[in-house]
């Protein structure tokens, strides 16, 4: 499991700590969640991060379903999960023991997170970190 990851985007340095195979990242609008997702996506494309990044553009292609059904030992990063995930996909994520998920969402509905899963993104002085509100 990826426990720590550092990346940067738009002048912000992110230092991310993960405590669980499922991390749901929330945060106020404008705090930098999209910037962080983009940074992770870029790292994935460049091969710096072995992850599959999914977002709104992937809804129609069916790639989300295929990924969730077939991925093994992967890091799967999903932006705008409130909109793009179906109930079945949420359930699959919540019960998946094979992959790690980093999910950007406002709602936890259907994903049954533990206390270690719920994080909010905080950015201060161009430093970004995850704050686990229940830990």
């Amino acid at each position: 499991m990826l426990k720590q990851y550092k990346t940067s985007g738009n002048g912000v340095d992110f230092d991310l700590i993960f405590h669980d195979a499922l991390t749901i990242i929330n945060g106020e609008s404008g705090v930098g969640k999209t910037v962080l997702f983009k940074a992770l996506e870029n790292d994935s494309i460049l091969g710096n991060l072995d992850a599959i990044c999914l977002n709104y553009d992937d809804i129609t292609s069916g790639i989300i379903d295929i990924t969730l059904k077939s991925a093994q030992n992967k890091i799967i990063i999903i932006d705008n999960a409130d909109i793009i995930l179906t109930d079945e996909q949420r359930f699959r994520i919540s019960t998946d023991q094979d992959n790690q998920y980093i999910i950007f969402a406002h709602s936890i509905q259907g994903m049954h997170p533990s206390e270690k899963s719920i994080a909010e993104l905080l950015v201060k002085n161009n430093k970004g970190k995850l704050n686990y509100v229940l830990l």
Binding site: F91, T95, I108, Q109, H112, S114, E115, K116, V133, L134
Partner: protein, 251 residues
């Protein structure tokens, strides 16, 4: 003075539990404690958001810490934020009142039916797994036995498409409530705990004679322990989460 504020109702099992401990005089800290139920997490959150805390008092806030219930989570986080500047306001780290009871060290010894009870025994297996998952901060949804229990309890038809949708609305607090209800309300035993009832066997002298009731014709199953009210209060205080409030000494 200490305040014990919780989200359950004014006549809830939670209020009865704290009042029982207070009235049993088992700890100085509870003397004159202000025990108050606010009838909902929203009411408690709203009240706290505008309340001026007295620096001379200690406030114990019990609001359900449910990581898998969006609404409950919101109120918990709101309260935590609102009181973060106060050192004398403690927001407790407890799933819910039902979990406090389920986690009681002698829960099984006190509540187990004398005759072999298959339902109770199967729930006991789930109770252990559930406690482990909560204590280890793990998601219960990954425990197949717990999922099977919930599927059976809510009669969810897993052959239907999208049956998982029905599980969406089951939170860890729901599981604690269902387990406690199932394990304490069966048969004639009067350890029943519901939202508004803390069974008399939790709070009264045990029957002195076999099958003699503490209040009429109910059979008390822990007659063999012959525990008196004060013993029970001490046991509940020393072996549940309740004792944690004594870590924060009254001023």
């Amino acid at each position: 003075m200490i305040h014990i504020w919780h989200e359950d109702s004014t006549n809830s099992a939670t209020t009865q539990f704290w009042n029982f401990l207070k009235n049993s005089n088992i700890h100085n800290i509870l003397i004159n404690a202000d025990i108050r139920g606010f009838n909902s997490n929203k009411n408690l959150s709203d009240y706290i958001s505008t309340y001026t805390f007295d620096n001379n008092d200690i406030y114990h806030v019990f609001i359900d810490k449910v990581s898998d219930n969006q609404k409950a989570l919101k109120y918990y986080v709101d309260i935590k934020r609102n009181v973060s500047v106060y050192k004398n306001v403690i927001v407790h780290n407890l799933l819910c009142f039902e979990y406090l009871i389920l986690r009681f060290k002698y829960f099984v010894e006190w509540t187990k039916p004398t005759k072999d009870n298959q339902l109770y025994n199967s729930c006991e297996i789930i109770r252990k797994q559930f406690i482990a998952s909560i204590d280890n901060k793990e998601a219960w949804i990954k425990k197949n036995d717990i999922v099977d229990f919930i599927v059976r309890r809510y009669n969810i038809d897993t052959s239907k498409n999208n049956w998982q949708r029905e599980l969406q609305f089951v939170s860890s607090e729901n599981i604690a409530t269902v387990l406690l209800n199932t394990m304490t309300n069966g048969g004639t035993i009067d350890f029943g705990v519901s939202k508004t009832r803390l069974g008399v066997c939790w709070q009264c002298n045990c029957c002195i004679k076999y099958n003699v009731s503490v209040i009429g014709n109910k059979k008390c199953r822990i007659y063999k322990y012959n525990k008196q009210t004060l013993d029970k209060a001490k046991n509940l205080w020393n072996n549940t989460y309740a004792k944690n409030i004594s870590k924060y000494l009254d001023k």
